[in-house]
């Protein structure tokens, strides 16, 4: 299958037989895949619309093998694409046709959980939820909880700076990672951050978080663990108007409350989720809010009281408070299952990830409703209301000619509007290949050039994950020209 996307912008003349010979010498047989059939499972990540076989797949078992792979690739000038659990939604782990895919899934040891210093040292292939499970006996957990936490890995979380539903209070991955050990493309061992709270010099740890595998390959991560709150309760409020739900969100913040979680789902999302999960959501509501409080029993009682007062005043048509931990988890299960639930209603869907200042929520939802009509495609909305991160799920059928292209154009318009409203094209899913052209919407040529120079500071020859994250300057100019002509432009055309 041929592709016209930005990965193909950067091609490399790699001597495949020489590469295989060199890699065979340093890797066990099971750690190198070269046949098309065995590489097929690695041809995409969560952005399944884009598939590409890599030149080779490697599955190193430890840091030394990873280092050996990088040294060889560096020497032979072969691109390297790192991959964790491939749950990413932006194509950050889509293979490069001339490159070696390095799966870090076999580096899956939890090296140490230290309850006293509240840290865990884990390999990149450890699943997000496994960290919290290992910490649970000590009353601790790992706070960032992306919806894919059952499957996604810590290495991938760092690469994408993953969020979740508790970010407003507990932060993103970048706020919960103390140290990243990794390898440069040349195979040098580097440590960003340390076991203390800061490190001398530039904050390279901040750069590594969210760098989408373009700066270094991660081999070990020290994460901060958080004491589990004594109690958590979630309030679900129904609204018969999305604007009122938006006002309620602002009202809660204005009351000086930082909820542990604050999520919104619109009618379509609720109607997708409820039959699937039976979370107890109000099927008649135009929008529902999930508002969580955690802390000591006294604190939660006080805060839930204040939250419900605000929700009532904001015109909530109904609300209920979780009465047990099981019920709280059931309420969250609905929200966390929103993507697969929508997936049941449609052959395919695209998940957008723009972030906007919260005050523009109603304007954005109205615009999405209008675009839904314009492109004749259904769209359900789930929204991290606390931090302004919106996930419109655009439903389409790839087997219907033109639907994918319409869905992409619909998504691009949403993200362009996010930028115009003072927001961003991606809050937590990353740019990857999916949104790479839209980077030109958000950043100037001078800013994009800075990103290229910044990458070169780590990876002089541009071998790490080429064609992702930051568009070439030629692509930026192409985008600008196209925008001046016939707006909007899809982020890139997926397949021919």
């Amino acid at each position: 299958m041929s592709m016209d996307n930005t990965i193909a912008d950067l091609r490399f003349a790699v001597d495949r037989p020489a590469l295989i010979k060199r890699l065979r010498a340093v890797l066990p047989a099971s750690a190198l895949l070269a046949e098309d059939e065995e590489m097929r499972p690695y041809d995409c990540d969560g952005l399944t619309a884009y598939r590409q076989l890599p030149l080779l797949v490697t599955l190193p078992e430890n840091e030394a093998q990873t280092q050996a792979i990088l040294r060889i690739c560096h020497e032979l000038h072969a691109p390297v694409v790192p991959r964790g659990a491939a749950t990413g939604l932006s194509g950050g782990a889509t293979p490069h046709p001339d490159g070696v895919l390095v799966s870090l899934a076999r580096l899956r040891n939890i090296i140490r959980v230290d309850p006293l210093s509240r840290t865990a040292v884990v390999q990149p292939g450890v699943r997000n939820l496994a960290v919290s499970e290992a910490a649970a006996p000590y009353g601790l957990y790992y706070a960032p909880d992306p919806s894919s936490q059952i499957a996604c890995t810590i290495g991938g979380n760092v690469a994408e700076n993953s969020g979740g539903v508790h970010c407003l209070k507990y932060g993103l991955t970048v706020n919960n990672v103390l140290r990243v050990r990794g390898l440069t493309i040349a195979g040098e061992i580097v440590e960003f951050g340390n076991a203390a709270l800061d490190a001398p010099g530039y904050d390279l740890l901040a750069l590594i978080n969210g760098s989408e595998g373009l700066l270094a390959i991660i081999t070990e991560v020290t994460v901060r663990l958080t004491p589990k709150p004594e109690l958590a309760q979630v309030v679900i409020a129904s609204f018969d108007d999305v604007r009122r739900a938006g006002d309620a969100v602002a009202g809660i913040i204005a009351a000086g409350i930082i909820p542990a979680g604050l999520e919104m789902m619109d009618r379509k999302a609720v109607q997708a989720v409820e039959p699937y999960v039976q979370a107890g959501y109000d099927m008649d509501a135009e929008a529902i809010l999930l508002c969580e409080s955690d802390g000591t029993a006294e604190e939660v009682a006080e805060e839930v009281g204040r939250m419900t007062a605000v929700l009532e005043k904001s015109g909530a048509s109904a609300f209920c408070v979780s009465r047990s931990e099981a019920e709280r988890l059931k309420f969250w299960a609905g929200r966390k299952a929103a993507f697969p639930a929508v997936g049941r209603m449609t052959p395919d869907y695209l998940c957008m990830d723009g972030t906007i200042p919260r005050k523009h929520l109603a304007k954005m939802l109205e615009a999405i409703a209008a675009l839904s009509g314009k492109y004749a495609l259904r769209c359900a909305n789930v929204f991290h209301a606390g931090d302004g991160n919106l996930h419109p799920l655009i439903m389409y059928d790839a087997n219907q000619p033109g639907e994918l292209e319409r869905a992409m154009a619909f998504g691009a318009e949403i993200l362009e509007l996010s930028v115009r409203l003072g927001g961003t094209i991606t809050g937590e899913h990353g740019v990857g290949i999916e949104k790479i052209m839209l980077m030109a919407e958000q950043f100037s040529i001078a800013e994009i050039s800075t990103f290229h120079r910044l990458k070169a500071a780590f990876d002089e020859h541009g071998l790490l994950n080429p064609g992702k994250g930051v568009p070439t300057l030629a692509r930026c100019r192409e985008y600008t020209l196209a925008r001046a002509g016939t707006a909007p432009v899809a982020s890139s055309s997926p397949r021919s």
Binding site: P115, L116, S117, R118, G139, L140, G163, C167, G171, V174, N175, V190, A195, L197, D198, A199, P200, G201, Y202, D203, L204, A206, L207, G210, P227, E230, A250, I253, A254, G295, T296, E298, E299, E302, E303, T355, P357, G386, G388, N389, G423, T424, I425, T426, G427, E428, V431, K435, M439, Q442, F443, S444, A446, E447, T450, F451, L454, A456, A457, V470
Partner: protein, 355 residues
């Protein structure tokens, strides 16, 4: 374009063309910190004002020359603040200087550092280009996180023009408690408490006394106070104590002896290197005097690093202000500097002598 900014760009371009150097100045309140100032002063104090502030968005955007005191007062009027409690080190401290110095106060261990609250920056690079990174929203992974990279970069990568910060509500209730315990016991105790859901927002051990601050909802503070026991500190005295700790006006910080800042894993044992004040649950330790080589070696051995925080220029030049970087990181630093400021216009030597 604003004439101040146009003039600023012209000065940067001229310096880049002629091999000139610029020393970026906010309020000069932290000039004592880091390497010596070199180059022609570029004053930011006139570039001031709060650009945008909407309390319900939890975001404030201010020009770099805005006085930190003005920003704090504006936030306080809406019941909000910069939760990482940045030290001012003088009434002239600015928002840009706060970010460039990257220093956080007593609440750092509980809520995070400056870098955790930076959402976006507008900066002028060494080519005279005005660039924006990050934004005014909580979640943003478009492009590398250049905004956070500015925290602690000491003006070596560009002139900060505008900063967007996450703000939080002021705590409803606060209570400080004192415990008479030795350093080793205090470290053990702080780490144990840290693993429990207690609203601890500050800790300081010195000379056999541990002072602990609780912040949060009234009910939570009261419950924690009952759990922890400890001798309650008078509220006004407590406010003065935490302010003096943050601003380094406690007697511990007085006098001419060099002041070292050790950033260590919170569990690192007492270092027995001299007169010590422990903060951040054990993760930040202040030290007066001592031999530079011994201190740096001890910090590295414990898994952290040491900064010569306050000293005369002679000692700073001899010992270096910041812990030296291992080779691959030093090379990345030089290349990053080159990416933003290829002609080495800004604050040469402020972070590392050759940067």
């Amino acid at each position: 374009m604003d004439s101040w900014l146009a003039n600023c760009i012209a000065r940067v371009s001229e310096a880049a063309d002629t091999g000139g150097q610029l020393a970026i100045r906010g309020g000069s309140s932290k000039r004592f910190y880091a390497g010596p100032e070199q180059g022609e002063p570029l004053e930011l104090a006139a570039w001031q004002g709060i650009v945008a502030y909407e309390p319900t968005e939890l975001v404030v955007t201010a020009r770099a020359g805005t006085a930190l005191s003005e920003l704090s007062a504006t936030l306080a009027a809406q019941g909000q603040w910069l939760a990482f409690e940045p030290p001012h080190f003088g009434p002239t401290a600015t928002v840009g200087g706060m970010l460039a110095a990257g220093l956080s106060g007593p609440r750092r261990q509980a809520v995070g550092a400056v870098r955790d609250f930076v959402l976006g920056v507008k900066l002028l690079n060494g080519l005279g280009e005005v660039l924006c990174f990050g934004g005014q929203v909580m979640k943003n992974v478009a492009g590398y996180d250049v905004a956070r990279l500015m925290a602690g970069s000491l003006g070596t990568l560009g002139v900060l023009l505008e900063v967007s910060l996450k703000v939080l509500p002021l705590p409803v209730a606060e209570k400080s408690l004192r415990f008479a315990i030795d350093e080793a016991t205090a470290l053990q105790q702080l780490n144990q408490w840290g693993g429990r859901p207690l609203p601890i927002s500050g800790s300081a051990w010195q000379d056999g006394i541990l002072t602990l601050r609780l912040s949060g909802a009234a009910a939570a503070v009261a419950a924690a106070q009952r759990t922890l026991a400890g001798e309650p500190v008078d509220d006004a005295e407590a406010v003065a104590f935490w302010w003096s700790l943050r601003e380094q006006t406690l007697p511990f910080f007085a006098g001419e002896a060099p002041l070292w800042r050790l950033s260590l894993p919170s569990l690192a044992p007492p270092q027995a290197l001299g007169s010590t004040l422990v903060e951040w649950g054990g993760a930040q330790r202040w030290l007066r005097g001592g031999d530079a080589r011994t201190i740096r070696a001890a910090a590295a051995k414990a898994g952290g690093h040491a900064t010569l925080f306050r000293a005369d220029d002679g000692l700073k030049a001899a010992a270096g202000v910041f812990q030296p970087l291992p080779q691959p990181l030093a090379r990345i630093h030089h290349r990053l500097k080159h990416a933003f400021d290829p002609h080495r216009v800004f604050n040469p030597g402020r972070l590392y002598p050759d940067l």
